[in-house]
Subunit: 477 residues, 2 copies
């Protein structure tokens, strides 16, 4: 049991030091490891398997809306990156440059893609000719590189994994519709699969994507009260189309510019999972995303028949993602280990249980123990997983709602940000100056103008002029 103690002791309490707790969980649950390359992490099997499940689920949802996958080169020639003014200004400072290849200096340097709008636009300008070619609904799964100064696993790394969808449409209406459709797809996925409630809204001009007409976002609240931008969807209008000359002939045989969108989600979702659901014993994974949903821990496994029964049980539970831990560690060590890894349900089965035709189920989030008959264990586990999925979302929503505050004055705003970590709802006049002032004074940024607008005051919380919209503010990762 010495091992157990060591394992549990080695995690910092989340209330004591949330940042350290996060780092501990990431390491102890073996999600990632640091690599010899500054700011780049290694996705270990437990971490990558979560990403694989995210991919599988999102990819199916994309395809159900007509999206097709492609793969674009990882390099962007400098001249191509420079084609859209706002875009290059936003990204050029944080790219990595390849200057030599095959032993020679390149005539034109290539950046490692920080995002692929320019490549997709160049491609679209070649393959789109007629209205018959529209819409184009392409997506790619890949990694991108942004030269960040400070990094944290999943949340901000030099290289990260993501998907980037890029679409081209005949009309502005269609592009806007697709932008919103994908944002809602993201939010539904997060709520239904990751059990993370989202605030859906639009970014202010200050916070929008470099080159976009409008950026929509989903924002989640972490356990420590900080916000995490979890996915964005951009409407480019015809700005990129004009820069890259992407035109089509319409039904009246007239040349028109296409209207474009892009939308992306990244491995930072795994960071969100950790920070929304985790506790002082480690990770807690929602059943629908958990690579292993059920772990069977045999008790007194050297006794005759125990391992056989465990294997039999695994077969019986074939509808779930199940593992048997028959390693030579103690049961206590295994309990801690699988709690650390966030496996939703633990099944304990030993000689006495077998004799009584039963097993003990332990639910990861509530620690609730249930003794069940082996005859109905599959049904029971199905029920527990379903309840856990549902209740994890509810708990996260309650936590978020309990940490969402209103501010009606500068003083109240500053007080909330300083003393009550969470979202701050406050009215805003629409001016960049007020956003800047709020950030400078409090450290909070505008997270979004939610689709679900409320009118909680007539005037801007900062300047007192007439308010245009309600904004969610907060400190963010």
């Amino acid at each position: 049991m010495a091992n157990d103690k060591k394992l549990v002791e080695s995690i910092t309490s989340m209330d004591e030091d949330f940042a350290q707790w996060y780092t501990d969980v990431v390491k102890k649950a073996e999600l990632v490891d640091y690599s010899g390359v500054r700011g780049c992490t290694i996705f270990r099997p437990a971490g990558y398997a979560i990403w694989e499940n995210i991919q599988k689920e999102l990819d199916a949802r994309f395809k159900a809306t007509g999206v097709e996958n492609v793969y674009m080169p990882m390099f962007i020639p400098e001249s191509l990156l420079n084609k859209e003014k706002d875009h290059v200004e936003g990204f050029a400072p944080e790219v990595a440059w390849v200057t030599h290849g095959g032993g020679e200096q390149l005539q034109e340097r290539l950046c490692v893609r920080p995002t692929s709008e320019t490549l997709f636009c160049d491609f679209y300008s070649h393959i789109i000719e007629s209205y018959r070619d529209l819409p184009k609904l392409y997506n790619q799964w890949c990694s991108v590189v942004r030269w960040e100064k400070t990094t944290r696993p999943f949340l901000r790394t030099l290289e990260f994994l993501w998907q980037e969808g890029h679409t081209a449409h005949a009309t502005a209406e269609e592009a806007e519709e697709r932008t919103i459709q994908m944002l809602n797809l993201y939010a539904d996925f997060c709520e239904e699969v990751l059990a993370i409630p989202m605030v859906r809204g639009r970014k202010t001009d200050k916070e929008k994507f470099a080159g976009a007409e409008a950026t929509y976002t989903i924002e989640a609240l972490m356990h420590d009260g900080k916000a995490l931008q979890s996915g964005t969807s951009h409407n480019f209008g015809d700005g990129f189309a004009k820069a890259f000359n992407i035109q089509y002939t319409d039904k009246e045989n007239k040349l028109q510019y296409v209207h474009q969108t892009s939308w992306g989600m990244t491995t930072r979702l795994i960071g969100a999972l950790i920070m929304v659901h985790g506790d002082n014993s480690g990770l807690v994974l929602p059943p629908r995303i958990a690579p292993t949903q059920v772990v069977i821990v045999p008790i007194m496994q050297k006794k005759e028949g125990v391992l056989e029964k465990a294997a039999e049980l695994r077969e019986k539970l074939g509808a779930f993602r199940v593992k048997v831990d028959d390693s030579d560690k103690s049961p206590g060590w295994k309990f801690s280990e699988h709690e650390m890894r966030g496996i939703p349900v633990r099944v304990e089965i030993g000689p006495k249980d077998i004799e009584a035709n039963q097993a003990v189920l332990v639910r990861r989030d509530t620690r609730e123990k249930t003794v069940v008959s082996l005859d109905e264990i599959d049904t029971k586990i199905g029920e527990i997983l379903e309840a856990m999925q549902k209740e994890m979302l509810e708990r996260a929503r309650n936590h978020r709602d309990a940490h969402t505050y209103e501010a009606h004055s500068t003083e109240e705003f500053a007080d909330v940000v300083a003393n009550k970590p969470g979202f701050v709802k406050a009215m805003w006049c629409g001016e960049r100056a007020c956003e800047d002032e709020i950030k400078e004074k409090t450290g909070a940024t505008s997270r979004c103008m939610p689709f679900a607008q409320e009118h909680i005051a007539d005037t801007c919380v900062c300047c007192g002029k007439q308010a245009k919209s309600l904004v969610y503010w907060g400190k963010a990762y």
Copy 2:
């Protein structure tokens, strides 16, 4: 019908100019497009979907043998690449170097991974401590970059997609067993899914991987008689372990070096599919890998009830990957188009067919037409797909066997290589000098020493000294 003609005319005949035929198919079947980056291609939906199916099938087979997926950084610091002497000599000349990031020159330049042995070794040196940590069976799906001078879609590109498996074992025997296991897994996959027969064997020292003790390979024969190395599996012994100090404590508490393997398959498999199965009408895809297995082409689709029936049929064929082509092109145009794309079975259904409760099935490889009752169309299509899969493999095997020759003298060897494109089986003494001489004189390289050894002569085909093994030789992509 003008469109049909144009479409068919625009493909070069494979007997006239195989290289041009290949390029035409790749373009017309919309598998890839050229990008603005030299030597890098864009995988279009039809091409990427084939890769997705390859991934799905291979990944399941990997996991069934205990392999877990991870993701390593795309950058390798120069000092890390330099750690294993043979390895760096093999790869350094063809890597791309990142020298600047975030607006500043880097203190140490980073290469974009050409392969990730060095990263995995560095990682393993940190996470492997005891025999309990072994084996490690990791794989990653990613892209790699090698600065090739001349490139061709799928076959040789600066950036390509692949998987690379890297394993660490307690003993040399286990490592060798895994090396062979993965080679056989690759070959079985190619034969069972891609319908491409493989020669399984070992590379000569000259042709082995930089840093490996032994490289095993599977070699396929293309329609034009040239060979294509289709997958390799390497046994590293403890060479990398010594260079990277990867040690574990064994059961007797002694420090031991691990034994390692790596194995990879790439998007060049798609090139193999094209060149083994394609014909003068375009691509021919084996049913098991085809993204669309059945295309339904409605005839006189504006007549009442035709599109409804086509949609109904699609539902009935839900066990297959089915599409309905209800675009406003002519049926003739659609026939050519879907033949070009290699879709295994075409279903034609028009008003007369509906009246007779039947449809016309056309098999892509043989063009065989069958009229079937709609009541049994699903069973019939299942049978056709199965027969097609089987017969495509048989045809490819017959073609390969018919183009595999024996040579017993230098003259015979030169004559075969010059006049009979295909594999040449000939005995070899084991000396590098003879390999070099054969290559210089004939252009043929040693493809492999097949596991299925034969003794067709006592002496080396080149120098006349005593022969050590039978070798498959050939010109290769």
